[in-house]
């Protein structure tokens, strides 16, 4: 059994202190169902103590990958290495990994305390230790006093907290979470996200978190792994994923986008900025994520919030276009303007009230962006 490095007797009395997060390595993982590849070759390294999200649409293989890490699914090929130990052929009960399921999977015939004590019984802790740990775990998730309740008496959010407590009570170095918040409403989700973040900070274990909600992934993770069709599309920090996506798929998945199609006008300069010819003659700038052969078909991605109205400053002169506004939607903290670029492609802008005013008044105007806010991406046949 992979030992959990538990420092006993922490200040919380009965609980465990920080654990050293385990390092996880996935090598060429594959899992097929008949002719369909759920996981088609996944390589990933997760560092000790990192919070990593597997982000992707349903069918992207993220849940299957998680199941393989937990040992609930067997990989057809590839290895799972935890703390430099190849655990690929290990049964789940030996892996000492914490797992939080989407449906919480709390044992309905046991009380909250019994649910929490279950993994401790498996590890043959004595009664006093178990009592102490259970108390500590309940304190972790702010459910003190709920020992004798049954899962059916708890609300969704409370059940989720118990599920998390149960998964960490035995001090695993790796915690896997499969869309744990997807069944909760917005308000609860935000609240529990904060609690999960805090838990991770305090306990220090490595977390692999599966979600299809990009906001969740961006706000929780140290790094985000975007998956698609059983493969890793891109790995990076939330900022890298958002501001420097590698592909149109990643760009679309993690936020709103404007795309402008064109051809590369030349190689990128020292800072990575290149020029793109748009149909109709305009030239725009952006940071290039493609090999810079001239004449390539590319598309320029600009996030709605990076578009500004009016005359560009000196550095951004090359990145401006005319737009025509067809609709305006007040979104509270910003105004959403929808319309078309001069190239005919649709555009979305997130503007402050003043900036939006002139645009709305005239129904048209000029917008610009800083070159480093534009991203030049390859054109994907089916993104």
């Amino acid at each position: 059994m992979v030992k959990s490095q538990v420092s006993e007797g922490s200040s919380r009395g009965g609980g465990i202190g920080r654990v050293t997060g385990g390092s996880l390595q996935l090598e060429s993982l594959e899992r097929h169902y008949g002719s369909i590849a759920a996981v088609a070759g996944v390589d990933l390294r997760v560092n000790s103590g990192e919070f990593v999200s597997l982000l992707g649409p349903s069918g992207s293989g993220k849940t299957t990958t998680l199941a393989i890490i937990a040992g609930l699914e067997k990989a057809d090929a590839g290895r799972v290495v935890l703390d430099d130990v190849d655990i690929t052929s290990w049964r789940p009960h030996k892996r000492n990994i914490g797992v939080v399921f989407q449906s919480y999977a709390l044992f309905p015939h046991m009380t909250v305390a019994e649910n929490l004590a279950y993994p401790l019984h498996c590890r043959k802790l004595d009664r006093k230790e178990i009592e102490g740990r259970v108390k500590w775990a309940l304190g972790l998730v702010r459910l003190e006093g709920y020992e004798k309740r049954y899962p059916r008496e708890l609300s969704g959010g409370q059940q989720q907290r118990v599920a998390v407590a149960r998964a960490v009570i035995y001090g695993p170095r790796l915690l896997l979470m499969d869309e744990p918040l997807s069944a909760l409403d917005r308000r609860l989700r935000d609240e529990l996200q904060g609690e999960i973040r805090e838990l991770h900070k305090n306990l220090g274990m490595t977390v692999v978190y599966v979600t299809h909600d990009q906001g969740e992934a961006l706000s929780l993770s140290d790094r985000v792994v975007v998956m698609r069709d059983g493969l890793v599309e891109q790995v990076g920090t939330p900022q890298e994923i958002y501001d420097r996506p590698d592909t149109e798929f990643v760009a679309r998945f993690v936020g709103n986008s404007n795309f402008l199609r064109g051809t590369l006008a030349g190689p990128a300069d020292a800072s990575g900025v290149a020029r793109v010819h748009l149909p109709g003659g305009s030239v725009v700038l952006g940071v290039s994520r493609v090999p810079t052969n001239s004449g390539r078909d590319v598309q320029v991605l600009v996030r709605p919030e990076y578009l500004h109205v009016g005359e560009p400053n000196a550095a951004s002169v090359g990145s401006s276009l005319q737009v025509r506004i067809t609709d305006t939607v007040y979104q509270g903290s910003f105004v959403l303007c929808v319309g078309e670029f001069e190239t005919g492609e649709s555009c979305r802008l997130h503007l402050g009230r003043e900036e939006a005013a002139s645009l709305i008044r005239d129904g048209r105007g000029q917008v610009w962006w800083r070159p480093e806010d534009g991203v030049i991406l390859p054109v994907q046949p089916n993104a």
């Binding site: 919480y104 702010r142 059916r152």
Partner: protein, 295 residues
């Protein structure tokens, strides 16, 4: 529905119930009938027939055999039914499972007489007749379709994730099953056991063929005595059978009720596929969270 119609329906219903239940009810007075012939009204009541029954080695042996066989049938059919139901509901190889269904329903379709004859011609060659084991096996075959149906339905309401969760928490596969799924199945197991027990106690045709000259079970002995002589102990045997099945049903029913209560019904039953629970209880979350946060 108009009154006349309703009254007519109730008359029919009463008649049906009387028809179906009268025999059971009449068995007791019959067994106390002081006359050895089937006469009504009984000239007098006596317990002497009961006394003779319980003193008779033949009848008591038959009673005991019925009990032993029933026990064997329950154990065998529940065990095999449980494993099969588990395989049906939890296996990944779902392509083969639909083929199992017709096979399992065969004992329900084919008249038990044919089944008995088939086994008879095999058993007589292999000198297996007369033993109680063959009776246990055959009646288990008859009971399994019902047991399987029952247990499969129960397993389908139990979230497979529960065992997986236990597995990740550190208990081995079988231990997870025993500590998590099995307790949740207790009501269904009890119901299946009762079903199998009653089926076995009542079963006559197969047992008859397997014990043509020897060692019969209680209903078989009854049958023989009705056929060939008018034995005054027959009604006593009938009363004993009614009592026995009633006892099994009653105890089983009570145990079932107890088990269900322990697992909790009402707000969320033993299945915990949580989605609807969540939507139902998010409103409460506001109140209860306030509680906890204020601590």
């Amino acid at each position: 529905m108009d009154r006349i119609g309703r009254i007519a329906l109730w008359v029919v219903a009463a008649a049906v119930l009387a028809f179906l239940l009268a025999p059971a009810i009449l068995v007791l007075p019959m067994s106390l009938n002081s006359s050895p012939f089937l006469v009504f009204p009984p000239p007098g009541y006596t317990f002497s027939w009961f006394g003779q029954f319980f003193a008779s080695p033949e009848w008591m042996a038959a009673l005991q055999r019925s009990g032993e066989v029933a026990l064997g049938v329950v154990l065998l059919s529940v065990l095999l039914g449980l494993t099969a139901a588990y395989a049906l509901t939890r296996s990944r190889r779902q392509r083969f499972m639909p083929l199992v269904e017709p096979l399992v329903t065969l004992p329900m379709i084919v008249p038990s007489l044919i089944f008995a004859v088939g086994v008879y011609i095999v058993a007589i060659r292999l000198h297996l007749l007369g033993g109680l084991w063959i009776v246990v096996l055959g009646q288990a075959v008859l009971a399994i379709p019902f047991v399987l149906l029952n247990l499969r339905a129960a397993l389908q309401t139990i979230d497979p994730r529960l065992e997986e969760a236990a597995w990740t928490l550190g208990s081995k596969r079988i231990a997870s099953f025993v500590r998590i799924t099995l307790p949740l199945m207790v009501p269904a197991l009890i119901a299946s056991a009762v079903l199998a027990a009653v089926l076995s106690l009542d079963e006559t045709v197969f047992a008859l063929f397997m014990t043509p000259d020897t060692a019969p079970t209680l209903p078989v002995l009854m049958y023989r005595n009705i056929q060939y002589n008018l034995n005054p102990l027959v009604p006593v045997a009938a009363a004993v059978m009614v009592f026995a099945t009633g006892l099994v049903g009653g105890v089983g029913g009570f145990a079932y009720w107890l088990a269900r209560r322990r697992l909790g019904s009402g707000r969320g039953s033993a299945s915990m596929l949580n989605q609807d629970l969540i939507s139902q209880s998010t409103a409460d979350e506001v109140a209860s969270d306030g509680e906890v946060a204020g601590v």
